[in-house]
Structures are given as structure tokens and as C-alpha cells.
């Protein structure tokens, strides 16, 4: 069994000291926030190197989040597809039902170390909001969640969960009332309450050190999967597939494998109504590099540099950008960025549910959809890992509506 290791010229060594992955990333924030970003960077570096912090995090991940998550050989799905064997990394079994808690747990421990008492966060589908509200309840901290008004409407159960957990959910009506607008509003709150407030970012985007920090906290997914697949099959996998909105679950499972150049990595963007429809959330396929929310990355934007609205059936993928490390991995060709449409995700959602008894989140269903496309092209002795980043209970009303079923 080989452990992940740092090589010279490792692809795992980024970002540089100023937070850049090649031309991407960086710290594009107003001066009011800049000193905070530098402080956060310092605080995170210290925590990362502190064995006591890592030990505390490990304990919470094991006893509260429920890690390690299993790696499940989906035999019926594999047999039906008739090609490569599919292994599901079961992040949907984490407490709160998705990979989000891995990152949130790390950051809340950091916020406590920094003496912050108030947490603000943005959320799209509500998974990150629920995870954040959960740890705020656990540690008795004030919690304000910004959520686009459109998302508040389409994710009502998660809004109520956050209320139950004691968080204040503030609907954002600016723009289209989705994730990017919630992100703007969370930044505005943070800039106005810098003394006591910690901005708990939910994905591998934003100004440095957020992309690197969130990736580090999510890398537990890939670290575990790397050991588990070797225990079960005796070798590294022949491909890893993960869905991408901002890209945190994908970055988490990819990162420990970046230097294993024989392992192809597939990031699945939301193809929405189809690549020719113009209604997608596929920032890499249909965007160009630009600057938003503190970092340079691929963005959906018009020819005047105005950010355009993303579209996906999945509220969690409905974001016009992508984490800067993904943009870099795309540019150097290490990760293949591919797409799955709303319809393909819906089909995969039902197929996985019927064949494995696992209801995936619509986000994760995009990864399953690509696996359904890729697996039949490979031999039966090949192994693919699919990151099942979240459970789909929250999406049941959306899926029912698309299938014409009235609940």
C-alpha cells in the first residue's frame, strides 16, 4: 500500500505564498478585508502545523461527523452498466448528509482558536448552511446564513432545519437571488463586523487562504479513499469522478491523487439544459478567466465582464464560478472537466436509487451520470471511484416535480 507522498515538482504543493495556482486564485478583496485575509492566513498556517489542532479535528471528525465514510462497491449498478466496477465514496453518510461538515468542522475550530464569536456563511442548496448552523449549535455560537431568496423558496426544508438549529437565515433579493448573491451579501456582513465575525466559506473558492484551507479540510475524503480502494482491490483506481459546483468535494477527493498521474480524474460540471442551451453552470466549458469573490478563476460572464447567472437543476451547483485550483488543473490538463445535464442527473438519480438503495443528492447525481457514461467504455476489471458527496432526501420534492408527481 502506498501512502500519498510529496514529490519534487508535486502537483500538490500549491498555492504559492500569495495564494496563486498558476494565474488563478489570489486575494482580490477590498482593503478593509485585506488585513483580515493576511491574519486568517497566518492563523490557519499555525493551526495546520499544530498537532493539538489536528488531534482535536480528528476527534470531532470521528465521533461527531462519523468518519471514516465507507467505500461501497456498487455491484448491481456496475453489472447493469456492464463495464468498469463502480465504488461509491459514501460522503452522504456524514452527519448532516453531505461532505460539507468536513470543512465546516475544521473552520469552526479555527474560528474558535481565533477568538471569533459570530459566524456568517453563504449557502446555495442549504447544505453548507445546515452544516454551519449545526456546528454553531454544537459550540453555542451566533450564526447568520445568507441565502438567495430564490434558493430559500426552492429549499424550504433546509431553511427550516437551519431555523431549528438556531441560525438566522437572511434571504438575499439582490441579483437573481442565488448563491453568488448570497456570497456578496455574506462578504458585506463580514466587512461590517470584522472584529468578532468569522466568514465560514463553504467551497474551495474565495480569496486565499480559503481555496487551500477548504481543500485541506476536504482532503480527508481522498486520503481515506486512497487507502480503502487499495484495501479492497489491491491497487489505485482507474478513474475518480466528482461533481463540481464550487468544487470542494471534487478537490477533496482529487487532491491526494494529483501526483498519481496514472489515475484519471473527472470533474463533472452541471450541463443544465444542455451545452447548446446557454443555460448551464459549466464555468470551465463555457466561461473565461476573470475575477469574482476574491479570486481569479473561470467565470460565466458576458463580453463586458458582467457575471451571468448559472443554471442547474441542482441548487448546489448553481454558481457561475469554480475554485481556482480547478481552473489551474484544467489549464495544465491534469483533470478532465466534463458535463452532465439536468436530465442525465435525474436519470442517474433514479438509477442509483433503484439499483443500490442509495438516494443521491442531485449534485452527486451529476457524478453518477458521468460514471454511467464512462463505465460501459471500460473493461470489467477497471475500477472507478465516484464521490457520493451528499444524500438526496432534500431533492425529493424537486425530482417529484420534474417527474410530474404531486406530493
Amino acid at each position: 500500500m502506498t501512502a500519498p507522498h510529496q514529490k519534487t515538482n508535486s502537483l500538490r504543493s500549491g498555492p504559492d505564498a500569495s495564494g496563486h495556482f498558476g494565474q488563478f486564485g489570489g486575494r482580490f478583496v477590498a482593503e478593509t478585508l485585506m488585513p483580515l485575509m493576511l491574519d486568517l492566513d497566518e492563523a490557519y498556517k499555525k493551526a495546520k502545523d499544530d498537532p493539538a489542532f489536528q488531534k482535536e479535528l480528528k476527534r470531532y471528525l470521528r465521533d461527531y461527523v462519523g468518519r471514516p465514510s465507507p467505500l461501497w462497491h456498487a455491484q448491481r449498478l456496475s453489472k447493469t452498466l456492464g463495464g468498469a466496477q463502480i465504488y461509491l465514496k459514501r460522503e452522504e453518510l456524514n452527519h448532516t448528509g453531505s461532505h460539507k461538515l468536513n470543512n465546516v468542522m475544521g473552520q469552526i475550530l479555527l474560528a474558535r482558536r481565533m477568538g471569533k464569536t459570530r459566524i456568517v456563511a453563504e449557502t446555495g442548496a442549504g447544505q453548507h448552511g445546515v452544516a454551519t448552523a449545526t456546528v454553531c449549535a454544537l459550540f453555542g455560537m451566533e450564526c447568520v446564513i445568507y441565502m438567495g431568496a430564490t434558493d430559500v423558496e426552492r429549499q424550504k426544508p433546509n431553511v427550516f432545519r437551519m431555523h431549528l438549529l438556531g441560525a438566522k437565515v437572511t434571504p438575499v433579493t439582490a441579483g437573481a437571488g442565488t448563491l453568488k448573491d448570497a456570497m456578496n451579501e455574506a462578504m458585506r456582513d463580514w466587512v461590517a463586523h470584522v472584529d468578532n465575525t468569522y466568514f465560514l466559506v463553504g467551497t474551495v473558492a474565495g480569496p486565499h487562504p480559503y481555496p487551500a484551507m477548504v481543500r485541506d479540510f476536504q482532503s480527508v475524503i481522498g486520503d481515506e479513499a486512497r487507502v480503502q480502494i487499495q484495501e479492497q482491490t489491491g491497487r489505485l483506481p482507474d478513474g475518480i469522478i466528482a461533481a463540481i459546483g464550487g468544487g470542494s468535494n471534487a478537490m477533496g477527493i482529487f487532491h491526494p491523487f494529483l501526483d498519481d498521474l496514472d489515475v484519471p480524474l473527472y470533474g463533472v460540471e452541471a450541463g443544465g439544459l444542455g451545452m447548446k442551451s446557454g443555460k448551464t453552470a459549466a464555468s470551465i466549458a463555457q466561461g473565461v478567466p476573470g475575477v469574482l469573490h476574491g479570486n481569479r478563476t473561470y467565470l460565466l460572464q458576458d463580453s463586458d465582464g458582467q457575471i451571468t447567472e448559472a443554471h442547474s437543476i441542482s441548487a448546489g451547483l448553481d454558481y457561475p464560478g469554480i475554485g481556482p485550483e480547478h481552473s489551474w488543473l484544467h489549464e495544465i490538463g491534469r483533470v478532465h472537466y466534463v458535463q452532465a445535464t439536468d436530465q442525465e442527473a435525474l436519470d442517474a438519480f433514479q438509477q442509483l436509487t433503484r439499483l443500490e438503495g442509495i438516494i443521491p443528492a442531485l449534485e452527486s447525481a451529476h457524478a453518477v451520470a458521468y460514471a454511467c457514461h464512462l463505465a460501459p467504455t471500460l473493461n470489467k476489471d477497471k475500477n472507478l471511484i465516484v464521490n457520493l458527496s451528499g444524500r438526496g432526501d432534500k431533492d425529493v420534492p424537486t425530482v417529484a416535480a420534474h417527474l410530474g408527481v404531486k406530493l
Binding site: S18, G26, R27, F28, V29, A30, E31, T32, L33, M34, P35, L36, A174, G175, K180, D181, M183, N184, M187, R188, V191, A192, H193, V194, D195, V288, G290, V291, L292, H293, G294, L299, Q301, S303, D304, G305, Q306, I307, T308
Partner: protein
Amino acid sequence: MSRIKACFDALKKEERGALIPYLEAFDPDRETSLSLLNGMVDAGADIIEVGIPFSDPSADGPTIQLAAQRGLKAGATLAGVLEMITQFRHTHKTTPIVLMGYFNPIDRYGVERFCKDAAQAGVDGLIIVDLPPEEADIIRPHIRAHHLDLILLTAPTTPDDRLKHILKDATGFVYYVTITGITGTNSATEEQLTQAMTRLRRATSLPVVAGFGITTPEQARSASKITDGAVVASAIIKEMAATFQDGKATEKSIPTALAKIRSLAQAVRS
């Protein structure tokens, strides 16, 4: 000599600070904002800040957010904003124009082409809200080549050693964001501002102007005395926007904005 330097030199002789009103380009339409821009000079503006509408103005409060949305709806583009400035310059040769905006539209336009076209249009300085000095190398050479000033932001959160570090290459003037917050929401006390100025004067010999949260003529007067100038943005836009009907300008819109500017101009001269 640059228009900005000439302006502050003249103000020094008058022993007063600058009034720097702000308008959002194309809010609520091109003609109205161009008329307002032209009218600002006679109303007593010393320098004018022109906002470039952006879809995601994350450092701005609700007033400027809405102004930006109206501007975009009216068809604002970066090229369109520069055309406005070109037209303004036909009749107004000396009042400095500072463009304020976010980096992405400039990045998309191309930093080199933008600096060239902005200088040609008669722009004097640039405030790029989300481009801190650490990321500014991408545009600095072009700014220098075209004799523009990159106006740097400083904030209450900026520590002394950082002030010195970021202001050592600053040109034009320094913009002090008086509050930790977004535009148009709160205001600093005279005492806070005085203390901040002590810190800033130690770090730079450039003029320092105060902005974010200056609303009334009294606040503008006080801020322009403590610093070298007061930026007023949201307060003007708010009063003007109150005259709009269904998001469109009415005959009261421009007079209302100019009356507000006149009252501010009077205050900084008293």
C-alpha cells in the same frame, strides 16, 4: 502637471478640502447621468468619481447596488462609460475624473487597452475596489505608461506597517474608507477620523480623502477639514433615486441631485 495634483494645489491655496461627489454611470440612463456629470462642475464638485456598474458590487451597500443594476439595465458598458467621459471633456478641461469600479470588467476589456483608452478619454485616476496592492502589478505598468493615478484604498483595519508598505508607491491621492462596512451605511466620528489622519499623515505626503458614510453637509464639512476631501456617493444617489418613477428619471431628478451637491459644496467652503 496632472489634473489631480493641480486640483489639490489650488485647494491648498484656498485652504479648504475637496468635495468629491459620485455618480453611477448610466443611472438611470446615459443622458441623465451625462447631464448630471456636466452639471456637477458648476454645482461645486472639485473632483468627480464615476462608478462603473458591475453585476456583483460586493463592497457596496443597497443604494449603489441598485444604481449599478439600473445602469446595467440602461446598457452600461466600460466602453460606454469611457465615451461619456470623452463627451464631458469636450466642455470641462480641468475637473479631475476618477473612475471607481471592480476589476472584472477592466480585466475583460484588457488592462493595457483600458488604461490607454481611459487616458485618451480624459480619465485621471482609477479606484479598483477589489484590486489590493498585492494584485495590482497586473495593471500598474500600464497605469504608469498612460500617466494615470492608481488611487489606493486604506481602511481602519489597515495596520501602520501595512499603511507604510502599500502607500510607498501611491500616486494622486489616498482614499480612506472611514468605516469597516459597505458604502452608505454608517459614519465615523470626528475623533476617529482625526486619529486615523495622524496615522495616515505619518505614512504618506499625498492628499487623503475620506469616503463611505458621509451623508450630510455638516459631515462633509467636518471630514473635508480633518482630511483633504470628502467623497459623497450614496446620499446623492438616494435623494436622486427618490425622484425616479418606475426606475426612470423625471424632471426633478437632476435638479435634486445638483441641489444636494450645492449644499455639500457650500459646506466644504464654509
